[in-house]
């Protein structure tokens, strides 16, 4: 008797598992897992993030340490910096123009580039979501004013203004984050506004209205969770753009300044024709890493967009 009941329960459990209601996030993640290219990108980005966090542990030298070696100069033995040395077993990616280990600086540079990207995108999302949801939710004059402001900033010649802001405030890591954050929020504001405009008219918002809850609760609890998917996709693609722009600004000398290493300012070494021609280890590794990181964020962003799109067949 009990045996029969057990069997029935098991069968029921199996049936339940098959008809389990999945949350949209589980479905999206399951679909993302099928996208092999996106998973490889995610894996690469995890390694990168891990190496940035553990930079102090995994790097063989100190970040700004100038490595010295005994050299004979006019008959005397002196301790001199090992400048621009090609990769060897001591320095797996060689040393730079001051005798610092390039591999070490690359890892620390990754830490800076990722941090700048994260903070800049965080600023963009906060400003963009605030402006977009206020404009979409309140409409009328608020919408008109906020959207004109968005139009204005959208039409700024981005790079020129970013360089101007950084050049005038003085190149530093904070000013780069600030400039990228303040200039890059317009597209997310537009997306959020558009989504909220259409969501506002749906029945569940009428129900929320009938319950008489506060506006802030309507926005944060009922509207924004429905806009999460495009925000996530934007943030991923935004990381790619922020890292690309940071490296460009730093390469032009308008970004993060030495001795703090970033991939962009390490590539300044290529401004000398001699280094460009003969010392590849000075500028190719940071360029390649920037490229791989930006591409990974772009692929992951594409993958997330497909995975989060409810119109795609499951």
């Amino acid at each position: 008797m009990s045996e029969a009941i057990k069997k029935k329960q098991e069968a029921n459990a199996k049936l339940d598992a098959r008809h389990k209601i999945e949350s949209p996030w589980t479905i999206a993640f399951r679909r993302l897992k099928k996208n092999r290219l996106a998973m490889v990108s995610l894996f690469l980005l995890c390694i990168l993030a891990l190496s940035a966090i553990l930079a102090d542990v995994i790097t063989p030298y100190d970040r700004d340490q100038i490595n010295l070696a005994d050299k004979e100069v006019r008959g005397k033995v002196m301790e001199l910096p090992i400048k621009n040395e090609a990769p060897s077993s001591n320095f797996i990616l060689g040393t730079d123009e001051l005798g610092r280990d390039i591999f070490t600086r690359l890892i620390y540079g990754g830490r800076i580039s990722l941090t700048v990207g994260l903070v800049a995108v965080f600023l963009q999302v906060v400003i963009g979501v605030a402006v977009g949801s206020a404009a979409g939710f309140y409409g009328g004059i608020v919408d008109a004013v906020l959207m004109r402001l968005t139009d204005i900033i959208m039409c700024f010649p981005f790079l020129l203004i970013a360089i101007t802001v950084v050049a005038l405030l003085g190149p530093s890591i904070f000013n780069v984050m600030f400039a990228l954050g303040l200039l890059g929020w317009t597209s997310i504001a537009r997306i959020v506004r558009g989504q909220i405009l259409s969501l506002r008219e749906q029945e569940f918002m009428e129900a929320a209205e009938a319950l008489g809850i506060r506006d802030s609760r309507k926005i944060f609890k009922h509207l924004l969770p429905n806009v999460m998917a495009p925000i996530i996709v934007f943030a991923t693609m935004g990381m790619a753009n922020a890292i690309l722009t940071e490296s460009t600004l730093s390469y032009l000398g308008m970004g993060v300044t030495p001795p703090t290493p970033t991939w962009g300012n390490m590539m300044q070494a290529a401004r000398s024709i001699y280094s460009l021609q003969n010392q590849w280890w000075l500028w190719i590794p940071p360029g390649f890493l920037t490229f791989i990181t930006v591409m990974s964020f772009n692929i992951l962003g594409d993958g997330l967009r497909d995975a989060l799109d409810p119109k795609m067949n499951r």
Partner: protein
């Protein structure tokens, strides 16, 4: 249609006005000004004031803005502090170089981007499709200055196939005209490839996704069942519709080319507007910087307007009101 056009042009005005206000204040409220470089600790306060007066930066910033904008409305962009010549004249000389570079790279992007996007879509999931898709991903992800450096190293330094930088060889003005043209073309190849890569990749991606959507439509199936050849279906029926979204992209992209030219012009020392703007920041040449900003913003706004108008011309289903 005429009302729509009028409305849109009237809408541009306040936006352009807003852009000038914000950029003017960003530029002028920054610490330090062009006179600080010329100042000398031995100068007296009166002398310092006179220097500031000469540049018109002794007045309150709002007055400075009103002075500037009232001249701009009359068509006068002011005098460049560095060049000691009218801003419009200085910009005019550089405009042609940037325009030429942007046009060549746009042509390159259209000629490569659109056909490869079409091929990619019609042969979805084949090796060729993967190749183009990866190419497009590389194109949008590689930092343009890094790509430029790689090209310079390989094509200009290791093998002297193309010149390293500039728009023409210094002594070229005494050469026969044919040699001069050849000289300019040789100087154009690398910067045009670098500037065009991002656009090529974008056009490829957009054409592919737009084409994929169109070839699943019912009228394409009808064309197939009518027995039309694949080539006619793709190039006459599908491509025309697939290109409509590309028009919008073009409207956004052309102004972007001018801004993107900043990096390319800096790396290749190309004597264009981007380099001019970049140098104006370094020199704190505010009137020139405002002039370049105004020009680029104006270009962006008209680009968007043209995109909307041509969108309507290409797709008769869209009505303006």
């Amino acid at each position: 249609m005429r009302n729509y056009l009028l409305k849109r042009v009237l809408q541009i005005m306040p936006v352009l006005f807003g852009i000038t206000i914000i950029t003017f204040f960003i530029i002028h409220t920054a610490p330090g000004d062009p006179t600080s470089k010329m100042m000398d600790p031995r100068m007296t306060v009166a002398e310092k004031m006179r220097l500031k007066e000469k540049f018109g930066i002794d007045k309150p910033i709002i007055v400075q803005y009103v002075d500037w904008i009232s001249e701009v409305v009359k068509g006068n962009l002011g005098y460049s502090w560095k060049f000691q010549r009218p801003v419009a004249e200085v910009m005019g000389e550089r405009l042609l170089a940037t325009f030429y570079l942007a046009a060549v790279s746009l042509l390159l992007a259209l000629l490569i981007g659109i056909p490869s996007g079409v091929i990619s879509a019609t042969r979805q999931y084949t090796k060729l499709d993967y190749f183009f898709t990866i190419f497009a991903l590389v194109g949008i992800s590689i930092p343009s200055f890094f790509f430029a450096l790689l090209l310079i190293k390989y094509f200009a330094i290791d093998n002297s196939i193309f010149p390293i930088s500039g728009m023409r060889t210094i002594e070229a003005s005494s050469w026969p005209i044919g040699a001069q043209i050849k000289d300019i073309i040789a100087h154009t190849v690398l910067p045009a490839i670098v500037l065009g890569l991002g656009s090529t990749a974008s056009f490829m991606r957009y054409t592919r996704s737009s084409m994929l959507e169109v070839i699943r439509q019912d009228y394409i199936r009808t064309a197939h069942s009518k027995g039309l050849s694949e080539r006619v279906i793709i190039y006459r029926h599908a491509l025309r519709n697939a290109l409509i979204p590309i028009i919008t992209l073009l409207g956004f992209w052309i102004p972007g080319l001018f801004s993107g030219a900043l990096i390319v012009e800096q790396v290749f020392a190309w004597p264009g507007m981007g380099l001019l703007g970049y140098q104006a920041i370094g020199d704190r040449d505010y009137p020139l910087l405002m002039g370049v900003n105004l020009f680029l913003s104006f270009l962006t706004l008209t680009g968007n307007l043209c995109a909307d108008l041509f969108y309507g011309l290409a797709d008769p289903r869209i009505k303006y009101d």
